[in-house]
């Protein structure tokens, strides 16, 4: 137990120190984690930790990340990008594999070993690239989309690769492997290899079955994801929300992701691919934002852990011994990958900054390389010593990737500013509005926004309300809008406006405070419960404060005027006059407002309010004595005697 706590503490502290530092220096979080991993590797060695084991656990972060990526992509978008997915991704994987294999053969390696190495190096790092693209807000750019398409194809390509690799097995490597298998400790490909074997060996629904059964089971598994996502989740989530406990929802979300990953690995498919599909199926669900905000912290922590293990797993002894070789191969591989990517970018018409983002971003080898390497060693495809070097190359290239992103940002982007500006036109310019609380109040606001063609993001915490609205084809996202992470998932970062229409004075105030502080670019329209709440919200930083019953009460008053026989236009003027006076009163009494003290206990407030009321009464009386009823001043005639001399035309 102490050992476990020790380990967790070491990882957490390392991340907490290194990542903000790296962010501060503009290096991005990934490099921060990698450096943290390198820094703690002596401690981990001293603690005798199996880093590779941890890395396997942490790889689940990639699975979660792909789930989240899927949530952002609905099936229509996925279908629309199918050609680029196959073209761009397929070309990248096949051309890079063949070129690297050819070069390896030229260096005297056997063709089967060369091909395996080609596959290992062809794959890029989904974890690093997507994390960095998201962090820098480049995901929606052309280059970011291209990168994503390639990465997605690679994730799919891993599956046939895993099927293909055992066929390349070498008998002499197998003999060699049995001799050395005990001599390797915490790091290195062998421990990795056994795990890899485990994943695909011990539990499986498909092993040992004839091909047609495998096919059927696989199809059924993929089909069940669609079924779970589109049919089962809604009643499930509705059931879960009855408990009204957040952790239960989080547990459900986790169970969904982990369960699908399990199902996928049982049938020998990529868990990442499975959860990605589940994400796509759920992309249109009203629970999307809630799922996003629940899974996201786990993804972040696990990926951070994963990056740290990459840093920590670098075998510096081996690196020092083969420094020139490893660095040489790393640079060679990255150059080659970049070359292939650059040509593909040209062919697929990525221009300017996007082409460079695509070229530099995907030039590394990635975490699937680790998986493939361990698998190849386990299946006796690559000899142990070559795998060790290859492992270092993969890690080194991942370590260099953040540097390439920095080079892209600092060196290339400034020169291509013009091209970037032109490309910016393609980005969706529609303003984004979030409405929190879709009830009697928020619903009206949202309808008014739709009238002018806006599509506000609607968030509400009542599952019942959601069900009712479904019938009217109104799409409302389930979630507690007062939670910062949910606002994040709903896109507060690039929102233009937030309309707060929830109940609960305190919650409205807190939400206003939070958004005003952390997202000062967002225009906040807040609903106030009463007059003191107006002051609270003003202090909290709301831009427009609307008293929830004021306008309707004024209208009721106006109707009363009309029913009393006052001319409708006069009634309107009187209502306006009342609003103006009330507003003056609101401003005048603001100075004596004490936050947290009810007005009925605030002596100063009572005294001032009385005084102001008396003053106003007096004014009203005076007005009556002079020009008749208040509210008609502009149109009442001047006294007859003066009228003859004035040029004004009044009846």
């Amino acid at each position: 137990m102490t050992g476990f706590l020790m380990l967790v503490t070491v990882f957490l502290i390392a991340g907490v120190i290194a990542v903000p530092l790296a962010a501060r220096l503009g290096l991005g979080s990934v490099l921060g984690y990698l450096i943290a991993g390198i820094a703690i590797s002596p401690i981990l060695q001293w603690l005798n930790v199996d880093i590779i084991q941890i890395q396997h656990f942490a790889e689940f972060g990639v699975v979660m990340m792909l789930f989240l990526v899927g949530l952002e992509l609905d099936p229509k978008m996925l279908w629309a990008m199918r050609q680029r997915l196959l073209g761009l991704g397929g070309m990248q994987v096949s051309v890079t594999t063949i070129l690297i294999a050819a070069i390896a053969m030229a260096f005297g390696l056997q063709w089967s070993v060369s091909l395996a190495i080609g596959m290992v190096f062809a794959l890029s790092s989904t974890a690093i690239v997507l994390q960095t693209l998201n962090e820098k807000g480049l995901m929606q750019s052309q280059g970011g989309q291209g990168s994503f398409q390639v990465l997605l194809f690679q994730d799919i390509a891993v599956i046939p690769m895993l099927a293909l690799l055992p066929l390349l097995a070498l008998p002499e490597v197998a003999e060699h492997a049995t001799q050395v298998s005990d001599s390797h400790g915490a790091h290195g490909g062998n421990a990795h290899g056994e795990d890899g074997h485990d994943d695909h060996g011990s539990m499986s629904l498909v092993e040992g079955r004839p091909g047609w059964q495998v096919g059927l089971i696989t199809l059924a598994a993929v089909g069940s994801i669609g079924f779970i996502g589109s049919v089962l989740t809604r009643p499930l989530f509705r059931f879960v929300t009855m408990a009204n406990l957040r952790e239960v929802f989080v547990a459900t979300a986790l169970a969904l992701v982990v369960g699908i990953a399990l199902l996928m690995s049982l049938v020998g498919l990529s868990p990442a691919l499975g959860t990605f599909l589940a994400g796509v199926v759920l992309a249109n669900s009203e629970y999307r934002h809630e799922l996003e905000s629940d899974i996201d912290p786990f993804r972040g922590l696990l990926l951070g852990l994963f990056f740290m293990t990459v840093g920590a797993a670098i075998n510096f002894g081996l690196l020092a011994d083969n420094f020139v070789l490893v660095v040489g191969i790393t640079l060679g591989v990255m150059l080659l990958k970049a070359g292939v990517l650059y040509v593909l970018a040209r062919v697929f018409k990525l221009a300017g900054a996007d082409r460079w983002l695509f070229t530099l971003g995907l030039a590394q080898a990635g975490e699937f390389g680790f998986v493939l390497l361990s698998f190849t060693v386990a299946n006796n495809v690559i000899p142990q010593d070559i795998a060790q070097i290859a492992l270092l190359v993969v890690a080194m290239s991942m370590l260099l990737t953040p540097a390439l992103f920095i080079a892209y940002e600092r060196l290339i982007l400034p020169r291509l500013i013009d091209a970037q500006e032109q490309a910016a036109d393609e980005i969706d310019h529609r303003s984004k509005i979030i409405v929190v609380g879709y009830g009697r109040f928020g619903g009206i606001v949202a309808r008014m926004l739709r009238q002018i063609g806006e599509q506000p993001v609607l968030v509400d915490y009542s599952a019942k309300q959601l069900e009712a609205l479904r019938k009217f084809d109104v799409k409302v996202f389930f979630g507690d809008g007062t939670r910062a992470d949910l606002l994040h998932a709903a896109g507060i970062e690039d929102a233009k406006m937030l309309i707060i229409a929830i109940d609960g004075k305190e919650q409205v105030t807190h939400l206003t405070e939070h958004v005003a502080r952390h997202h000062s670019h967002v225009h906040i329209v807040a609903r106030a419960y009463d007059r003191p709440h107006v002051y609270d919200l003003y202090q909290a930083g709301a831009h427009d404060i609307i008293r929830e019953t004021f306008d309707s009460a004024v209208r009721a008053g106006r109707s009363a005027y009309e029913a009393l026989g006052i001319h409708p236009f006069q009634a309107e003027r009187l209502a306006q006059k009342f609003k103006k006076t009330d507003r003056q009163l609101l401003v005048a009494t603001a100075s004596v407002h004490k936050p947290g003290v009810p007005v009925s206990e605030n002596e100063d407030f009572i005294a001032l309010a009385k005084e102001l009321n008396a003053q106003m009464e007096e004014e009203l009386q005076g007005a009556k004595a002079g020009f008749g009823i208040e509210g008609a001043d502009g149109w009442t005639p001047p006294p007859a005697k003066i009228a003859v001399d004035t040029p004004e035309e009044k009846d």
Partner: protein, 200 residues
């Protein structure tokens, strides 16, 4: 003739002259009266409803006090919205062709104030040319306005009943086709004392 009267006075309860005219005309049958400020206290004029009124009327009259040598603002708003292109003017805008367009105006200043010598500088008809041209552009017949000069002074001196009664007579005559349109059209303005000349 079907007569439509738009009344517009933002300070309606306090306008003696217009109130008297309203009272006098309230009893007239077969004429459509619309208090614009009461119908549209928030100026949200319903164009369809108003155009339908125009289509079923033969004479359109506005009853208002002269404000700043023009109409109260709601009449301008009504004109801006209701007299649409394609309805009242322009291509296909012939829906008002041949209808009578006129007004009943109360002026605070006395008659002599209107003209080159008076402090208002222009004759009333000159000040009303926008109304006249509006009628022309919409293919309507402009009928000289029924006018009460010096409304404020008259309120004090003789009372308003002769004028209000005249307004009632004028509207009934229009309704019953008793107005000699040629004679009336030749007038500059029509006052209560001119009615015997122009009504058959």
């Amino acid at each position: 003739m079907k007569v439509l009267v738009y009344q517009a006075h933002p300070g309606a309860p306090h306008s003696e002259a217009n109130k008297a005219m309203d009272v006098a005309t309230d009893a007239v049958e077969g004429i459509e009266f619309v208090d614009l400020y009461a119908t549209y206290p928030r100026f949200d004029i319903d164009v369809e409803v108003e155009q339908a009124r125009l289509l079923r009327s033969d004479a359109i009259l506005f009853q208002y006090p002269l404000f700043w040598y023009s109409t109260p603002s709601i009449i301008k708003e009504w004109q801006d919205l209701v007299l649409e292109h394609g309805f009242a003017y322009g291509s296909g805008g012939d829906k008002l062709t041949g209808k009578i367009w006129s007004m009943g105006i109360t002026c605070g200043a006395p008659e002599e104030a209107y003209g080159a010598e008076g402090y208002n500088g222009f004759a009333l008809r000159t000040l009303l040319t926008p109304m006249e041209q509006t009628a022309r552009l919409c293919h309507m017949t402009f009928l000289p306005p029924y006018v009460l000069y010096g409304a404020l002074a008259k309120r004090e001196a003789h009372g308003l009943s002769p004028h209000a009664e005249g307004w009632r007579r004028w509207l009934i005559a229009l309704r019953d086709d008793q107005v000699d349109l040629t004679k009336a059209g030749a007038c500059d303005v029509i006052q209560a004392e001119d009615l015997n000349e122009v009504i058959r």
